[in-house]
């Protein structure tokens, strides 16, 4: 095997532990299933006061340096928020904002950081649009384009999966600029009417948008180009992989609870159905998938600052967590019988979320393909 560095470190600070405790309690209290369901059909998909509370707890500024009004921690700490958030299927723009923050840290210039980071730390919402209609997960081949026209930059093309764009002040959009990938920072208020349209997505807790760039202009000062752009795109990928993995681990734990509850309640043939090994043993498989996924998650969080180690660790974590969650979601339907086939059963909410997580930023097969090139 080639000499790829391997680490088996799992580090977890008191700070992370305290945050995790707080977040576990917070999402249990603020995001019960009744809340999740109450948001399914709303415009924004989350309650304004829930977001305010998260902002007041300082969670949005967690990874923002102190100089910009944040608390100067990092993505490892954000995992402590995202995992319990995923467990309670709580939807909010936390991930989108973390991605935008990392974009600015990895590729933003002083002016761009100074303009956006303090606002993001205070809960201004951002959206990251890096996917296009062909659904390709590769982040470095945008076909939407940015063309210099005098002092202005003219944009064209269509982005998809601009998650939370409806409530975002900042849109971070990937484009092709002078033959290379670039990012453009757009102020939502400057978008023409109709530029953003809702997508219908499998996970009904989510709000995702199609962004039509034709006719939109930006200022050259809002571009992130060349090496900085590549760094920023890598930051988007790493942030997404880490935090989606966290949400998927949380979601798997959540759906396992739903399964175990039902297996301990429903009786058929005079016995609790949980006594049937055809249900009991797959429940153990789910648990094992979850334990491995959580171990990968906290390992990835431990090495996130080391680009070389993080690359493999994140891919492994995402692949393990999303497969575990997708399996758990799938079995959760079957194990509820016809009730599982209903809209009313919570299992469907988890299955939808599991598929959302799987198909955002690369499914398990995609990551294993890249890991093969890295490790074999």
């Amino acid at each position: 095997m080639s000499e790829t560095p391997v680490s088996s470190a799992v580090n977890f600070s008191d700070e992370q532990s305290m945050l995790l405790d707080t977040a576990v309690e917070f999402f249990r209290d603020t995001s019960p299933m009744s809340y999740v369901r109450s948001q399914l059909a709303t415009e924004t998909g989350f309650a304004e006061n829930l977001w305010r509370e998260m902002v007041d707890l300082g969670w949005l500024g967690l990874a923002v340096p102190e100089a910009y009004g944040g608390s100067g921690l990092g993505l490892a700490e954000a995992v402590s928020i995202a995992e319990p958030m995923g467990r309670h299927l709580c939807n909010c723009p936390f991930l989108s904002c973390q991605m935008a923050i990392q974009v600015l840290l990895a590729g933003g210039d002083e002016q761009q950081r100074g303009r956006w980071l303090p606002r993001l730390a205070q809960g201004a919402i951002a959206s990251v649009a890096v996917i296009e209609r062909d659904g390709d997960w590769s982040l470095v081949r945008p076909t939407c384009s940015a063309i210099r026209q005098d002092e202005r930059i003219a944009l064209s093309g269509v982005k998809t999966f601009a998650v939370d764009a409806g409530v975002a002040e900042l849109l971070v959009v990937s484009v092709e600029f002078e033959g290379e990938p670039a990012l453009v920072l757009l102020e939502n208020s400057g978008l023409p009417e109709g530029a953003l349209t809702r997508q219908r997505v499998i996970d009904e807790t989510r709000r995702s948008f199609r962004l039509d760039l034709d006719g939109i202009e930006a200022d050259a000062a809002d571009l992130i180009t060349s090496r900085a752009a590549l760094g920023a795109l890598a930051a988007i990928r790493d942030t997404a992989l880490l935090l989606i993995t966290a949400e998927a681990c949380g979601g798997t734990a959540g759906v396992l609870d739903v399964i175990v509850d039902y297996l301990n309640t429903r009786t058929q043939f005079g016995r609790l159905i949980g006594s049937y090994q055809a249900l009991k043993h797959p429940a153990v498989d789910i648990l094992i998938g979850l334990e491995r996924a959580r171990s990968h998650l906290y390992h990835a969080a431990s090495v996130i600052g080391d680009a070389e180690l993080a690359l493999g660790a994140l891919g492994m974590a995402k692949a393990q967590a999303c497969d575990a969650f997708a399996y758990a979601g799938d079995r959760s339907i079957q194990f509820h019988g016809a009730f599982g086939f209903t809209y009313e059963c919570d299992a469907q909410l988890f299955l939808r979320r599991a598929l959302w997580c799987q198909y955002q930023f690369g499914d398990a097969l995609h990551h294993r393909k890249h890991l093969a090139d890295l490790l074999l």
Partner: protein, 397 residues
């Protein structure tokens, strides 16, 4: 370098220097498969050497022959043994379950009598739990132990006894009261000598064609009454704590490996050389995907070990990682060996001893031997029941 790193380097150097030369016969792959005298002596000598160098039982009390040190040192030694692929410690049943059990609940006399000789491999231990008719349903064992003066008279038969041909002592689960209020109540636990009249050991041939475990027959075998551990009727409870040590779900073991380590990296190497349609298997996308799946699982289990040392990351289901360890590890090993055979094309059907067999048929043998651990010590299905019931709180089957 800090002190622990220095220690690790010292251990590695010692192991490299002292590891026994590869023998000209096949070694068993775990303590459950020691089937010939030359295998046994080779492994016993090695354990003795390791113990004398101070690398075994490092955290056990000094007064009984242990090292009296912190567990971290022993863990480092065990890690290095795995990394350097040195032979395993053959007296596993003594080292990792009878020993910790005696240290936990035995009398001072028992500790003085047994512990040192477990470490030095002077006295080999075996386990007499399973019977021909009672395997997974261990609580139903029927071997009888009847008190007669200051002796117990044993009748019945134990089977699948690993190391039965070489053992000096057996941890024996037998029925002292056939009329207990339930099947568990009449069981008692003995530290029984094997070298008494009326004990007969018969080797059993394993699926690989080699010998490994034995059947043990008791025909009016008389053992001293002092061999009873705890009190009559406590057998089930003591057997359960033995199994907790055996399955690695509780600490306190003497340490050292108890089986050959199988690594995904070895299968990756194999895939570089095995050919498919004129190209190395490692270029086949399906093979690559399977290999990466194994790497993710293997690394996942390694990371579970690391995470299990952080209570804040295990608080929801504290026993989960430890209780699922045997199930995870043994099933991964079995599937990995099975996959390694699939890489060999037509040669997948060759066996040990054929001159064209890949790696002398090692993977075929390893695959067959891997079932020792998915069956022995509680089958995977029974392990899954245990995890479901104790960790997830699901009802009994």
């Amino acid at each position: 370098m800090n002190e622990l790193d220095e220690f690790r380097a010292e251990v590695a150097a010692w192991l490299m220097e002292n590891r026994p030369r590869a023998p000209d016969f096949l070694l068993p792959e775990s303590f459950m498969e020691v089937g010939s005298d030359r295998q046994f002596h080779y492994l016993r000598d090695w354990q003795q050497q390791v113990y004398e160098a101070g690398y075994l039982g490092m955290a056990w009390p000094q007064e009984y022959g242990g090292g009296g040190m912190d567990q971290v040192y022993q863990n480092i030694v065990t890690d290095e043994m795995a990394r350097l692929n040195v032979p395993f410690m053959t007296n596993t049943i003594g080292l990792n379950w009878a020993g910790p059990l005696i240290l936990a609940i035995g009398t001072d006399e028992e500790k003085q009598r047994y512990i040192r000789n477990i470490l030095s491999a002077e006295e080999i231990w075996c386990q007499g739990f399973s019977e021909p008719d009672n395997g997974s349903d261990l609580g139903n064992v029927q071997t009888r132990a009847v008190r007669d003066g200051d002796e117990y008279v044993i009748n019945g038969s134990k089977i699948w006894t690993s190391l039965g041909s070489y053992a000096k002592h057996m941890i024996l689960l037998a029925r002292t009261d056939p009329h207990g209020e339930n099947k568990y109540a009449g069981l008692s636990y003995f530290l029984a000598p094997m070298d008494v009249a009326g004990v007969r050991v018969q080797p059993i041939r394993k699926l690989t064609g080699e010998y490994g475990f034995t059947q043990t027959f008791f025909e009016d075998a008389r053992i001293p009454a002092s061999c009873l551990m705890g009190a009559e009727g406590q057998g089930w409870q003591i057997a359960m704590s033995t199994l907790t040590f055996e399955r690695g779900a509780a600490g306190g073991q003497a340490g050292g490996l108890s089986m050959v380590v199988v690594r995904v990296a070895d299968v990756v190497e194999l895939a570089r050389h095995a050919m498919r349609d004129g190209r190395p298997s490692i270029e086949d996308p399906h093979v690559r995907d399977e290999l990466v799946k194994f790497l993710i699982e293997e690394q996942g289990d390694r990371l579970c070990e690391s995470r299990s040392r952080i209570p804040a990351l295990c608080s929801e289901r504290p026993g989960s990682i430890a209780l699922s360890g045997k199930l995870r590890g043994t099933e991964l090993r079995r599937r990995l060996c099975q996959f390694a055979i699939s890489l060999q094309g037509a040669n997948g059907a060759l066996w040990v001893g054929d001159r064209d067999a890949v790696a002398d048929g090692k993977w075929q043998r390893s695959y067959f031997n891997a079932f020792s651990a998915t069956i022995g010590g509680g089958t995977s299905q029974v392990q899954a029941n245990i995890v479901a019931e104790r960790v997830l709180g699901l009802p009994k089957s």
